[in-house]
Amino acid sequence: MNSLALSDGVLLIATLAIIMKPSASIGIRLSAAVFAAAAFLGVLRFSTLLPLPGMHSFFSGLGASAAYPLLAAAFLWPDSGVAQSWRFASIFLIIAGAFGLVASALEFSLWGNLLAIVAVVALLLRSMKNRDVKATMGSSSLLAALLLFSSQFSLPPVLQPGDFLHLFMALGLTLMATRSLRFPQQTAAAVQSVNQASLD
Protein backbone atom coordinates (compact mmCIF):
# COMPACT_ATOMS: atom_id res chain seq x y z
CA MET A 1 0.00 0.00 0.00
CA ASN A 2 1.49 3.36 -0.99
CA SER A 3 1.13 6.81 0.52
CA LEU A 4 -1.52 7.89 -1.99
CA ALA A 5 -3.83 5.09 -0.91
CA LEU A 6 -3.35 6.06 2.73
CA SER A 7 -3.88 9.78 2.19
CA ASP A 8 -6.94 9.03 0.04
CA GLY A 9 -8.13 6.86 2.95
CA VAL A 10 -7.80 9.84 5.29
CA LEU A 11 -9.79 11.98 2.85
CA LEU A 12 -12.42 9.23 2.60
CA ILE A 13 -12.84 9.10 6.39
CA ALA A 14 -13.08 12.89 6.62
CA THR A 15 -15.69 13.11 3.86
CA LEU A 16 -17.71 10.18 5.24
CA ALA A 17 -17.80 11.94 8.61
CA ILE A 18 -19.22 15.04 6.91
CA ILE A 19 -21.81 13.01 4.97
CA MET A 20 -23.02 11.35 8.17
CA LYS A 21 -23.23 14.61 10.07
CA PRO A 22 -26.94 15.48 9.98
CA SER A 23 -26.28 19.05 11.08
CA ALA A 24 -24.13 19.80 8.02
CA SER A 25 -26.15 21.32 5.20
CA ILE A 26 -27.29 19.14 2.31
CA GLY A 27 -25.16 21.03 -0.23
CA ILE A 28 -22.06 20.40 1.85
CA ARG A 29 -22.93 16.74 2.37
CA LEU A 30 -23.53 16.21 -1.34
CA SER A 31 -20.24 17.82 -2.32
CA ALA A 32 -18.55 15.68 0.36
CA ALA A 33 -20.19 12.62 -1.21
CA VAL A 34 -18.54 13.38 -4.57
CA PHE A 35 -15.16 13.83 -2.88
CA ALA A 36 -15.80 10.60 -0.94
CA ALA A 37 -16.51 8.68 -4.16
CA ALA A 38 -13.27 9.99 -5.68
CA ALA A 39 -11.33 9.17 -2.49
CA PHE A 40 -12.82 5.65 -2.32
CA LEU A 41 -11.84 4.99 -5.93
CA GLY A 42 -8.41 6.44 -5.12
CA VAL A 43 -7.97 3.98 -2.26
CA LEU A 44 -8.93 1.12 -4.58
CA ARG A 45 -6.65 2.41 -7.31
CA PHE A 46 -3.51 3.22 -5.34
CA SER A 47 -3.74 0.18 -3.08
CA THR A 48 -4.07 -1.88 -6.31
CA LEU A 49 -7.05 -3.69 -4.78
CA LEU A 50 -9.25 -2.75 -7.75
CA PRO A 51 -7.62 -0.14 -9.98
CA LEU A 52 -10.29 1.80 -11.88
CA PRO A 53 -8.24 4.78 -13.09
CA GLY A 54 -10.91 6.03 -15.55
CA MET A 55 -13.59 6.17 -12.91
CA HIS A 56 -11.20 7.74 -10.39
CA SER A 57 -10.21 10.54 -12.74
CA PHE A 58 -13.87 11.09 -13.66
CA PHE A 59 -14.90 11.60 -10.03
CA SER A 60 -11.82 13.73 -9.37
CA GLY A 61 -12.82 15.91 -12.34
CA LEU A 62 -16.41 16.06 -11.07
CA GLY A 63 -15.07 17.10 -7.69
CA ALA A 64 -13.12 19.99 -9.20
CA SER A 65 -15.76 21.23 -11.63
CA ALA A 66 -18.92 20.58 -9.60
CA ALA A 67 -18.32 19.65 -5.95
CA TYR A 68 -16.03 22.60 -5.15
CA PRO A 69 -18.49 25.12 -6.62
CA LEU A 70 -21.35 23.37 -4.77
CA LEU A 71 -19.39 23.54 -1.53
CA ALA A 72 -18.72 27.25 -2.06
CA ALA A 73 -22.35 27.97 -2.96
CA ALA A 74 -23.59 26.10 0.12
CA PHE A 75 -21.25 28.10 2.37
CA LEU A 76 -21.75 31.48 0.75
CA TRP A 77 -25.54 31.19 0.73
CA PRO A 78 -26.35 28.92 3.67
CA ASP A 79 -30.08 29.59 3.47
CA SER A 80 -30.36 28.94 -0.27
CA GLY A 81 -32.02 25.95 -1.93
CA VAL A 82 -28.60 24.71 -3.07
CA ALA A 83 -27.50 24.48 0.56
CA GLN A 84 -30.73 23.20 2.04
CA SER A 85 -32.48 20.91 -0.42
CA TRP A 86 -31.47 17.68 -2.13
CA ARG A 87 -33.37 18.72 -5.22
CA PHE A 88 -31.52 21.97 -5.88
CA ALA A 89 -28.15 20.65 -4.72
CA SER A 90 -28.50 17.72 -7.18
CA ILE A 91 -29.57 20.02 -10.02
CA PHE A 92 -26.55 22.23 -9.30
CA LEU A 93 -24.25 19.20 -9.31
CA ILE A 94 -25.68 17.82 -12.58
CA ILE A 95 -25.48 21.14 -14.42
CA ALA A 96 -21.98 21.96 -13.14
CA GLY A 97 -20.96 18.37 -13.95
CA ALA A 98 -22.34 18.73 -17.49
CA PHE A 99 -20.28 21.86 -18.07
CA GLY A 100 -17.26 20.00 -16.69
CA LEU A 101 -17.85 17.14 -19.12
CA VAL A 102 -18.16 19.52 -22.06
CA ALA A 103 -14.91 21.22 -21.02
CA SER A 104 -13.26 17.83 -20.68
CA ALA A 105 -14.52 16.78 -24.13
CA LEU A 106 -13.12 19.99 -25.60
CA GLU A 107 -9.78 19.30 -23.88
CA PHE A 108 -10.18 22.48 -21.81
CA SER A 109 -8.59 20.93 -18.77
CA LEU A 110 -8.10 24.30 -17.10
CA TRP A 111 -11.87 24.56 -16.50
CA GLY A 112 -12.02 22.28 -13.46
CA ASN A 113 -8.87 23.73 -11.87
CA LEU A 114 -10.10 27.26 -12.49
CA LEU A 115 -13.51 26.59 -10.95
CA ALA A 116 -12.00 24.88 -7.93
CA ILE A 117 -9.59 27.78 -7.32
CA VAL A 118 -12.32 30.41 -7.78
CA ALA A 119 -14.63 28.51 -5.40
CA VAL A 120 -11.95 28.16 -2.72
CA VAL A 121 -10.81 31.78 -3.05
CA ALA A 122 -14.44 32.89 -2.66
CA LEU A 123 -14.69 30.77 0.49
CA LEU A 124 -11.46 32.26 1.84
CA LEU A 125 -12.52 35.85 1.17
CA ARG A 126 -15.90 35.34 2.82
CA SER A 127 -14.30 33.66 5.83
CA MET A 128 -11.80 36.49 6.21
CA LYS A 129 -14.53 39.08 5.83
CA ASN A 130 -16.49 37.35 8.58
CA ARG A 131 -13.33 37.19 10.74
CA ASP A 132 -14.00 33.51 11.18
CA VAL A 133 -10.76 31.84 12.20
CA LYS A 134 -11.86 28.25 11.71
CA ALA A 135 -13.37 28.87 8.28
CA THR A 136 -10.32 30.90 7.23
CA MET A 137 -8.06 28.03 8.28
CA GLY A 138 -10.29 25.54 6.47
CA SER A 139 -10.46 27.46 3.21
CA SER A 140 -6.71 28.24 3.39
CA SER A 141 -6.11 24.54 3.74
CA LEU A 142 -8.27 23.84 0.68
CA LEU A 143 -6.39 26.51 -1.27
CA ALA A 144 -3.05 25.05 -0.16
CA ALA A 145 -4.22 21.62 -1.34
CA LEU A 146 -4.97 22.93 -4.82
CA LEU A 147 -1.85 25.08 -5.11
CA LEU A 148 0.52 22.40 -3.86
CA PHE A 149 -1.01 19.83 -6.19
CA SER A 150 -0.89 22.07 -9.25
CA SER A 151 2.76 22.95 -8.51
CA GLN A 152 3.45 19.20 -8.11
CA PHE A 153 5.13 19.83 -4.75
CA SER A 154 6.40 16.66 -3.09
CA LEU A 155 8.58 15.43 -0.24
CA PRO A 156 10.17 12.29 -1.69
CA PRO A 157 10.13 9.51 -0.76
CA VAL A 158 7.48 10.12 1.92
CA LEU A 159 4.83 12.31 0.32
CA GLN A 160 3.81 12.69 -3.32
CA PRO A 161 1.93 15.70 -4.80
CA GLY A 162 -1.37 13.81 -4.56
CA ASP A 163 -0.80 13.26 -0.83
CA PHE A 164 -0.74 17.00 -0.17
CA LEU A 165 -3.96 17.36 -2.13
CA HIS A 166 -5.70 14.61 -0.15
CA LEU A 167 -4.44 15.58 3.31
CA PHE A 168 -4.98 19.33 3.01
CA MET A 169 -8.42 18.67 1.51
CA ALA A 170 -9.32 16.38 4.41
CA LEU A 171 -8.21 19.03 6.90
CA GLY A 172 -9.92 21.86 5.03
CA LEU A 173 -13.23 20.07 4.56
CA THR A 174 -13.32 18.98 8.19
CA LEU A 175 -12.71 22.53 9.40
CA MET A 176 -15.28 23.97 6.98
CA ALA A 177 -17.91 21.39 7.91
CA THR A 178 -17.39 21.99 11.62
CA ARG A 179 -17.67 25.68 10.89
CA SER A 180 -21.04 25.17 9.21
CA LEU A 181 -22.46 23.92 12.50
CA ARG A 182 -21.95 27.36 13.94
CA PHE A 183 -24.12 29.21 11.45
CA PRO A 184 -26.96 30.47 13.62
CA GLN A 185 -28.88 31.65 10.56
CA GLN A 186 -29.23 28.08 9.30
CA THR A 187 -32.37 27.78 11.26
CA ALA A 188 -35.18 25.34 10.96
CA ALA A 189 -37.18 28.23 9.51
CA ALA A 190 -34.78 28.52 6.59
CA VAL A 191 -35.01 24.80 5.88
CA GLN A 192 -38.78 24.94 6.15
CA SER A 193 -38.95 27.91 3.77
CA VAL A 194 -36.95 26.05 1.10
CA ASN A 195 -38.98 22.90 1.50
CA GLN A 196 -42.18 24.89 1.33
CA ALA A 197 -41.01 26.56 -1.89
CA SER A 198 -40.42 23.13 -3.44
CA LEU A 199 -43.84 21.90 -2.40
CA ASP A 200 -45.89 24.95 -3.38
Partner: protein
Protein backbone atom coordinates in the same frame (compact mmCIF):
# COMPACT_ATOMS: atom_id res chain seq x y z
CA UNK B 1 -24.76 15.06 -55.64
CA UNK B 2 -24.19 13.59 -52.16
CA UNK B 3 -24.38 9.84 -51.83
CA UNK B 4 -27.44 8.47 -49.99
CA UNK B 5 -26.57 6.49 -46.86
CA UNK B 6 -29.18 4.34 -45.09
CA UNK B 7 -29.49 4.57 -41.33
CA UNK B 8 -32.00 3.02 -38.88
CA UNK B 9 -33.83 6.35 -38.53
CA UNK B 10 -34.39 6.54 -42.29
CA UNK B 11 -36.09 3.15 -42.30
CA UNK B 12 -38.03 3.99 -39.17
CA UNK B 13 -39.68 7.18 -40.43
CA UNK B 14 -41.89 5.60 -43.13
CA UNK B 15 -42.39 2.55 -40.88
CA UNK B 16 -43.71 4.65 -38.00
CA UNK B 17 -46.02 6.59 -40.31
CA UNK B 18 -47.31 3.20 -41.61
CA UNK B 19 -48.02 2.15 -37.99
CA UNK B 20 -50.05 5.33 -37.53
CA UNK B 21 -52.06 4.55 -40.68
CA UNK B 22 -52.61 0.94 -39.51
CA UNK B 23 -53.82 2.10 -36.07
CA UNK B 24 -56.11 4.59 -37.76
CA UNK B 25 -57.53 1.78 -39.95
CA UNK B 26 -57.99 -0.61 -37.02
CA UNK B 27 -59.67 2.07 -34.91
CA UNK B 28 -62.09 2.76 -37.77
CA UNK B 29 -62.84 -0.98 -38.07
CA UNK B 30 -63.48 -1.15 -34.33
CA UNK B 31 -65.69 1.91 -34.57
CA UNK B 32 -63.53 3.86 -32.14
CA UNK B 33 -62.46 7.43 -32.70
CA UNK B 34 -58.90 7.83 -31.48
CA UNK B 35 -57.61 10.20 -34.18
CA UNK B 36 -58.45 13.76 -35.09
CA UNK B 37 -57.02 15.05 -38.35
CA UNK B 38 -55.22 18.24 -37.41
CA UNK B 39 -53.95 16.91 -34.10
CA UNK B 40 -52.39 13.88 -35.77
CA UNK B 41 -50.88 15.85 -38.63
CA UNK B 42 -49.49 18.33 -36.10
CA UNK B 43 -48.01 15.47 -34.06
CA UNK B 44 -46.32 14.03 -37.14
CA UNK B 45 -45.09 17.48 -38.21
CA UNK B 46 -43.67 18.07 -34.73
CA UNK B 47 -41.93 14.70 -34.97
CA UNK B 48 -40.48 15.42 -38.41
CA UNK B 49 -39.32 18.87 -37.29
CA UNK B 50 -37.65 17.38 -34.22
CA UNK B 51 -35.77 14.96 -36.46
CA UNK B 52 -34.50 17.85 -38.62
CA UNK B 53 -33.29 19.68 -35.52
CA UNK B 54 -32.20 16.69 -33.46
CA UNK B 55 -30.17 15.20 -36.29
CA UNK B 56 -27.51 17.63 -35.08
CA UNK B 57 -28.46 17.17 -31.41
CA UNK B 58 -28.07 13.40 -31.70
CA UNK B 59 -24.60 13.90 -33.12
CA UNK B 60 -23.72 16.05 -30.10
CA UNK B 61 -24.99 13.33 -27.72
CA UNK B 62 -23.13 10.55 -29.55
CA UNK B 63 -20.00 12.75 -29.75
CA UNK B 64 -20.09 13.45 -26.01
CA UNK B 65 -20.73 9.80 -25.24
CA UNK B 66 -17.87 8.66 -27.45
CA UNK B 67 -15.41 11.15 -25.94
CA UNK B 68 -16.35 10.41 -22.33
CA UNK B 69 -16.25 6.67 -23.11
CA UNK B 70 -12.77 7.00 -24.62
CA UNK B 71 -11.52 9.13 -21.73
CA UNK B 72 -13.05 7.46 -18.70
CA UNK B 73 -14.52 4.15 -19.89
CA UNK B 74 -13.62 1.73 -17.12
CA UNK B 75 -14.59 -1.80 -18.10
CA UNK B 76 -14.36 -3.80 -21.32
CA UNK B 77 -17.61 -5.45 -22.37
CA UNK B 78 -18.07 -8.50 -24.53
CA UNK B 79 -20.46 -7.57 -27.32
CA UNK B 80 -21.35 -11.21 -27.94
CA UNK B 81 -22.49 -11.76 -24.36
CA UNK B 82 -26.25 -11.39 -23.69
CA UNK B 83 -25.32 -10.10 -20.23
CA UNK B 84 -23.76 -6.97 -21.79
CA UNK B 85 -26.97 -6.16 -23.65
CA UNK B 86 -29.31 -6.95 -20.77
CA UNK B 87 -27.22 -4.93 -18.33
CA UNK B 88 -26.97 -2.03 -20.79
CA UNK B 89 -30.75 -2.08 -21.38
CA UNK B 90 -31.50 -2.11 -17.66
CA UNK B 91 -29.04 0.70 -16.93
CA UNK B 92 -30.19 2.73 -19.93
CA UNK B 93 -33.81 2.35 -18.90
CA UNK B 94 -32.97 3.30 -15.32
CA UNK B 95 -31.24 6.45 -16.54
CA UNK B 96 -34.16 7.09 -18.90
CA UNK B 97 -36.46 7.03 -15.86
CA UNK B 98 -34.45 9.88 -14.32
CA UNK B 99 -34.16 11.83 -17.58
CA UNK B 100 -37.91 11.54 -17.96
CA UNK B 101 -38.65 12.38 -14.34
CA UNK B 102 -36.38 15.43 -14.52
CA UNK B 103 -38.18 16.36 -17.74
CA UNK B 104 -41.42 16.54 -15.76
CA UNK B 105 -40.30 17.90 -12.42
CA UNK B 106 -37.78 20.63 -13.29
CA UNK B 107 -39.38 23.57 -15.05
CA UNK B 108 -36.70 24.30 -17.65
CA UNK B 109 -36.64 20.64 -18.68
CA UNK B 110 -40.43 20.43 -18.66
CA UNK B 111 -40.34 23.37 -21.08
CA UNK B 112 -38.87 20.95 -23.62
CA UNK B 113 -40.77 17.81 -22.75
CA UNK B 114 -44.19 19.49 -22.58
CA UNK B 115 -44.27 19.34 -26.40
CA UNK B 116 -44.73 15.57 -26.22
CA UNK B 117 -47.66 15.95 -23.82
CA UNK B 118 -49.40 18.81 -25.61
CA UNK B 119 -51.74 16.61 -27.64
CA UNK B 120 -55.30 16.11 -26.39
CA UNK B 121 -55.33 12.79 -28.21
CA UNK B 122 -53.48 9.59 -27.40
CA UNK B 123 -52.47 7.43 -30.33
CA UNK B 124 -49.35 6.34 -32.20
CA UNK B 125 -48.97 9.79 -33.73
CA UNK B 126 -48.58 11.16 -30.18
CA UNK B 127 -45.46 9.02 -29.87
CA UNK B 128 -43.97 10.93 -32.78
CA UNK B 129 -44.70 14.30 -31.16
CA UNK B 130 -41.19 14.80 -29.80
CA UNK B 131 -39.52 18.02 -28.67
CA UNK B 132 -36.91 19.74 -30.80
CA UNK B 133 -35.23 21.26 -27.76
CA UNK B 134 -34.60 18.27 -25.49
CA UNK B 135 -31.18 17.20 -26.70
CA UNK B 136 -29.32 19.87 -24.73
CA UNK B 137 -29.72 18.12 -21.38
CA UNK B 138 -30.57 14.46 -21.93
CA UNK B 139 -27.07 13.25 -22.81
CA UNK B 140 -25.72 14.06 -19.34
CA UNK B 141 -27.89 11.39 -17.74
CA UNK B 142 -26.46 8.61 -19.90
CA UNK B 143 -22.84 9.35 -19.01
CA UNK B 144 -22.71 6.63 -16.31
CA UNK B 145 -22.96 4.10 -19.16
CA UNK B 146 -19.99 5.74 -20.89
CA UNK B 147 -17.98 5.78 -17.67
CA UNK B 148 -18.73 2.09 -17.13
CA UNK B 149 -17.34 1.54 -20.62
CA UNK B 150 -20.54 0.39 -22.40
CA UNK B 151 -19.48 0.65 -26.07
CA UNK B 152 -20.97 3.41 -28.21
CA UNK B 153 -22.66 0.95 -30.58
CA UNK B 154 -24.37 -0.82 -27.65
CA UNK B 155 -25.51 2.55 -26.30
CA UNK B 156 -26.93 3.59 -29.69
CA UNK B 157 -28.71 0.27 -30.34
CA UNK B 158 -30.10 0.00 -26.81
CA UNK B 159 -31.24 3.63 -27.06
CA UNK B 160 -33.05 2.82 -30.27
CA UNK B 161 -34.68 -0.30 -28.78
CA UNK B 162 -35.80 1.69 -25.73
CA UNK B 163 -37.21 4.41 -27.96
CA UNK B 164 -38.96 1.99 -30.31
CA UNK B 165 -40.54 0.12 -27.43
CA UNK B 166 -42.07 3.39 -26.29
CA UNK B 167 -43.89 3.90 -29.59
CA UNK B 168 -46.40 1.09 -29.26
CA UNK B 169 -47.49 2.04 -25.73
CA UNK B 170 -49.08 5.20 -27.14
CA UNK B 171 -52.39 3.57 -28.00
CA UNK B 172 -55.92 3.42 -26.65
CA UNK B 173 -56.71 0.25 -28.57
CA UNK B 174 -54.91 -2.08 -26.16
CA UNK B 175 -56.34 -2.66 -22.70
CA UNK B 176 -54.63 -3.93 -19.54
CA UNK B 177 -52.07 -6.67 -20.05
CA UNK B 178 -52.38 -8.69 -16.84
CA UNK B 179 -49.13 -9.65 -15.12
CA UNK B 180 -47.05 -7.72 -17.65
CA UNK B 181 -48.33 -4.56 -15.95
CA UNK B 182 -46.24 -5.56 -12.94
CA UNK B 183 -42.89 -4.83 -14.54
CA UNK B 184 -43.36 -3.44 -18.05
CA UNK B 185 -44.49 -0.11 -19.37
CA UNK B 186 -47.77 -0.89 -21.13
CA UNK B 187 -50.37 1.12 -23.04
CA UNK B 188 -52.52 1.14 -19.89
CA UNK B 189 -49.95 2.55 -17.50
CA UNK B 190 -48.58 4.91 -20.15
CA UNK B 191 -52.07 6.35 -20.67
CA UNK B 192 -51.91 7.35 -17.03
CA UNK B 193 -48.60 9.11 -17.73
CA UNK B 194 -50.25 11.21 -20.45
CA UNK B 195 -53.29 12.01 -18.36
CA UNK B 196 -54.10 15.39 -16.85
CA UNK B 197 -56.40 13.98 -14.18
CA UNK B 198 -54.99 14.72 -10.75
CA UNK B 199 -54.10 11.10 -10.08
CA UNK B 200 -52.08 10.97 -13.31
CA UNK B 201 -49.79 13.94 -12.67
CA UNK B 202 -46.09 13.05 -12.40
CA UNK B 203 -46.69 9.32 -12.61
CA UNK B 204 -45.26 6.41 -14.64
CA UNK B 205 -41.99 7.75 -15.99
CA UNK B 206 -40.55 4.38 -17.07
CA UNK B 207 -39.43 3.72 -20.64
CA UNK B 208 -39.51 -0.08 -20.95
CA UNK B 209 -39.74 -1.21 -17.32
CA UNK B 210 -42.25 0.11 -14.83
CA UNK B 211 -40.27 -1.32 -11.91
CA UNK B 212 -38.43 2.00 -11.49
CA UNK B 213 -41.75 3.72 -10.86
CA UNK B 214 -42.74 1.10 -8.33
CA UNK B 215 -39.32 1.43 -6.69
CA UNK B 216 -39.40 5.22 -6.42
CA UNK B 217 -43.09 5.62 -5.64
CA UNK B 218 -44.23 7.18 -8.91
CA UNK B 219 -46.40 4.32 -10.17
CA UNK B 220 -50.15 4.62 -10.69
CA UNK B 221 -52.55 2.14 -12.24
CA UNK B 222 -55.17 3.21 -14.75
CA UNK B 223 -58.52 3.68 -13.02
CA UNK B 224 -61.65 2.15 -14.44
CA UNK B 225 -63.91 4.63 -12.64
CA UNK B 226 -62.09 7.72 -13.91
CA UNK B 227 -61.28 7.80 -17.64
CA UNK B 228 -57.96 9.42 -18.46
CA UNK B 229 -58.18 12.89 -19.99
CA UNK B 230 -55.14 13.43 -22.17
CA UNK B 231 -52.99 16.52 -22.61
CA UNK B 232 -51.68 19.29 -20.42
CA UNK B 233 -53.62 21.23 -17.84
CA UNK B 234 -53.32 24.48 -19.74
CA UNK B 235 -54.12 23.37 -23.30
CA UNK B 236 -51.79 24.39 -26.08
CA UNK B 237 -54.63 25.36 -28.43
CA UNK B 238 -52.31 25.59 -31.41
CA UNK B 239 -51.46 23.47 -34.41
CA UNK B 240 -48.16 25.25 -34.86
CA UNK B 241 -45.21 22.85 -34.39
CA UNK B 242 -42.82 25.71 -33.65
CA UNK B 243 -45.11 27.26 -31.07
CA UNK B 244 -45.71 23.87 -29.45
CA UNK B 245 -41.94 23.73 -28.87
CA UNK B 246 -41.56 27.30 -27.71
CA UNK B 247 -44.75 28.30 -25.89
CA UNK B 248 -43.63 27.12 -22.47
CA UNK B 249 -40.17 28.64 -22.87
CA UNK B 250 -41.74 31.99 -23.67
CA UNK B 251 -44.05 31.72 -20.65
CA UNK B 252 -41.18 30.68 -18.40
CA UNK B 253 -38.93 33.59 -19.42
CA UNK B 254 -41.83 36.03 -19.07
CA UNK B 255 -42.57 34.67 -15.62
CA UNK B 256 -38.89 34.92 -14.63
CA UNK B 257 -38.69 38.46 -15.99
CA UNK B 258 -41.65 39.44 -13.84
CA UNK B 259 -39.98 38.34 -10.60
CA UNK B 260 -38.34 40.96 -8.44
CA UNK B 261 -35.60 38.87 -6.82
CA UNK B 262 -33.01 36.41 -8.06
CA UNK B 263 -34.24 33.56 -5.93
CA UNK B 264 -37.66 33.68 -7.56
CA UNK B 265 -36.14 34.15 -11.01
CA UNK B 266 -34.07 30.99 -10.51
CA UNK B 267 -37.09 29.14 -9.15
CA UNK B 268 -38.88 29.85 -12.44
CA UNK B 269 -36.23 27.73 -14.19
CA UNK B 270 -35.26 25.15 -11.59
CA UNK B 271 -38.36 24.88 -9.45
CA UNK B 272 -41.19 22.47 -10.14
CA UNK B 273 -43.61 23.46 -12.90
CA UNK B 274 -46.29 24.06 -10.24
CA UNK B 275 -44.15 26.61 -8.45
CA UNK B 276 -45.52 30.12 -8.08
CA UNK B 277 -43.92 33.01 -6.18
CA UNK B 278 -44.96 33.43 -2.58
CA UNK B 279 -48.13 35.48 -2.26
CA UNK B 280 -48.86 35.28 -5.99
CA UNK B 281 -51.41 32.79 -7.09
CA UNK B 282 -51.31 33.81 -10.77
CA UNK B 283 -47.67 33.22 -11.57
CA UNK B 284 -47.70 32.03 -15.14
CA UNK B 285 -48.03 28.62 -16.68
CA UNK B 286 -49.11 26.26 -13.94
CA UNK B 287 -49.31 22.53 -14.10
CA UNK B 288 -51.75 22.37 -11.22
CA UNK B 289 -54.58 24.40 -12.67
CA UNK B 290 -57.08 22.49 -14.72
CA UNK B 291 -58.74 25.05 -16.93
CA UNK B 292 -61.44 22.74 -18.13
CA UNK B 293 -60.86 23.90 -21.71
CA UNK B 294 -60.22 21.17 -24.22
CA UNK B 295 -58.49 22.05 -27.46
CA UNK B 296 -61.13 21.87 -30.12
CA UNK B 297 -60.64 20.47 -33.57
CA UNK B 298 -61.05 23.68 -35.58
CA UNK B 299 -63.06 23.55 -38.72
CA UNK B 300 -60.46 24.36 -41.37
CA UNK B 301 -61.46 24.20 -45.03
CA UNK B 302 -60.73 20.87 -46.70
CA UNK B 303 -58.20 22.46 -49.07
CA UNK B 304 -56.22 23.87 -46.18
CA UNK B 305 -56.28 20.50 -44.40
CA UNK B 306 -55.08 18.88 -47.60
CA UNK B 307 -52.23 21.38 -47.86
CA UNK B 308 -51.13 20.41 -44.34
CA UNK B 309 -51.21 16.73 -45.24
CA UNK B 310 -49.25 17.42 -48.43
CA UNK B 311 -46.69 19.41 -46.48
CA UNK B 312 -46.30 16.49 -44.06
CA UNK B 313 -45.75 13.97 -46.86
CA UNK B 314 -43.26 16.23 -48.66
CA UNK B 315 -41.36 17.07 -45.49
CA UNK B 316 -41.19 13.40 -44.49
CA UNK B 317 -39.64 12.66 -47.87
CA UNK B 318 -37.23 15.58 -47.52
CA UNK B 319 -36.28 14.40 -44.05
CA UNK B 320 -35.40 10.95 -45.37
CA UNK B 321 -33.25 12.57 -48.10
CA UNK B 322 -31.68 14.92 -45.57
CA UNK B 323 -30.83 12.18 -43.06
CA UNK B 324 -29.44 10.01 -45.84
CA UNK B 325 -27.07 12.64 -47.14
CA UNK B 326 -26.40 14.92 -44.19
CA UNK B 327 -23.03 13.40 -43.32
CA UNK B 328 -21.67 14.67 -46.60
CA UNK B 329 -23.22 18.12 -46.29
CA UNK B 330 -21.25 21.01 -44.78
CA UNK B 331 -22.46 22.13 -41.33
CA UNK B 332 -23.85 25.44 -42.61
CA UNK B 333 -25.94 23.62 -45.24
CA UNK B 334 -27.30 21.30 -42.51
CA UNK B 335 -28.21 24.30 -40.37
CA UNK B 336 -29.79 26.01 -43.39
CA UNK B 337 -31.93 22.96 -44.20
CA UNK B 338 -33.00 22.51 -40.57
CA UNK B 339 -33.89 26.22 -40.31
CA UNK B 340 -35.84 26.02 -43.57
CA UNK B 341 -37.79 23.02 -42.24
CA UNK B 342 -38.62 24.91 -39.03
CA UNK B 343 -39.84 27.90 -41.06
CA UNK B 344 -41.91 25.68 -43.33
CA UNK B 345 -43.62 24.01 -40.35
CA UNK B 346 -44.19 27.39 -38.73
CA UNK B 347 -45.89 28.64 -41.89
CA UNK B 348 -48.24 25.61 -41.98
CA UNK B 349 -49.04 26.21 -38.32
CA UNK B 350 -49.75 29.88 -38.99
CA UNK B 351 -51.90 29.04 -42.00
CA UNK B 352 -53.95 26.59 -39.98
CA UNK B 353 -54.27 28.98 -37.10
CA UNK B 354 -55.50 31.74 -39.43
CA UNK B 355 -58.08 29.56 -41.14
CA UNK B 356 -59.18 28.06 -37.81
CA UNK B 357 -59.77 31.54 -36.42
CA UNK B 358 -61.67 32.52 -39.55
CA UNK B 359 -63.73 29.33 -39.26
CA UNK B 360 -64.43 29.99 -35.60
CA UNK B 361 -65.37 33.61 -36.31
CA UNK B 362 -67.77 32.65 -39.07
Amino acid sequence: MPEFVFSPTIILIPLLICFVVIELGVSRLLGRSVYTFQDSITSINIGIMSQFVNATGAVISAFMYAIIHAKYGTFTWDLTSPFTWIFALLLYDFMYYWVHRTGHEVNMFWASHITHHSSEQFNLSTALRQASTGFYFKWVFYMPLAILGIPVQVFVIIGLIDLLYQVWVHTRLVGRLGWLELFLVTPSNHRVHHGKNDYCIDKNYGGVFSVWDRLFGTYADERVDEPVRFGIKTPLNSWNPVWSNLHYWVGMFRKAGAQSNWRDKLMCFFGEPVWVPEGNSAGGIKKSVLTGEEAQEPDSPALIRLSGLLMTVISAGLLVLYLGSKQQLPAFVQIFIASFAVLAFASVGLLWAKTSRRGAAS
